[in-house]
Amino acid sequence: QQPVQSPQAVILREGEDAVINCSSSKALYSVHWYRQKHGEAPVFLMILLKGGEQKGHDKISASFNEKKQQSSLYLTASQLSYSGTYFCGTEISGSSNTGKLIFGQGTTLQVKP
């Protein structure tokens, strides 16, 4: 039931692009993306709802393929501040608006100068 994220880790140079994927075996109502820096709490980045709404955040955007139950997070022209661990959180369809999320195992992103 836990979504699977790939890759597990990414190392980039500043200015490079990256894609992080999140895949679920369950029908999803929404996908949330969070970033967590070392020793800090996760911070919300964006949410994608069933029905195709896509929301961006600066140079970070995401997509949600409902047929495949997959979401991808796109980081464009990465900055040092993008370093951290990225988690997708999935809300299962039919969970009656509980807000309950099941988080993936995380993708560690390191941006080097």
């Binding site: 661990t85 807000g99 999320l101 195992q105």
Partner: protein, 120 residues
């Protein structure tokens, strides 16, 4: 500014002690959650609440208990701490769109700073 608070931030205690981890939010959110997270690992939901007097266990079995007597307060209690309880505990809250609360999107979760618990 922080709208969700957790105390203590760090706690080191001996086996068998009873502890309560505090979580409070000032956003008027109806939903609140407790997660357990080991270093570098994913977040596991251990408890959640839809509102006052409504609590349910999460997907990860936990020996802890919670209560929700007031909207803003969601404490977690361990009756007898053991070394296996050593972990970071994160509290979060959310509200559906249209409900009161800061920057409500759609069940966007706001996390507290966490309590790092070490049981010796």
């Amino acid at each position: 500014e922080a709208d969700i608070y957790q105390t203590p931030r760090y706690l080191v205690i001996g086996t068998g002690k009873k502890i309560t981890l505090e979580c409070s939010q000032t956003m008027g959110h109806d939903k609140m959650y407790w997660y357990q997270q080991d270093p570098g690992m994913e977040l596991h939901l251990i408890h959640y609440s839809y509102g006052v007097n409504s609590t349910e266990k999460g997907d990860l079995s936990s020996e802890s208990t919670v209560s929700r007597i007031r909207t803003e307060h969601f404490p977690l209690t361990l009756e007898s701490a053991r070394p296996s309880h050593t972990s970071q505990y994160l509290c979060a809250s959310s509200a559906a769109p249209g409900a009161s609360g800061r920057r409500s999107s759609y069940n966007e979760q706001f996390f507290g700073p966490g309590t790092r618990l070490t049981v010796l």
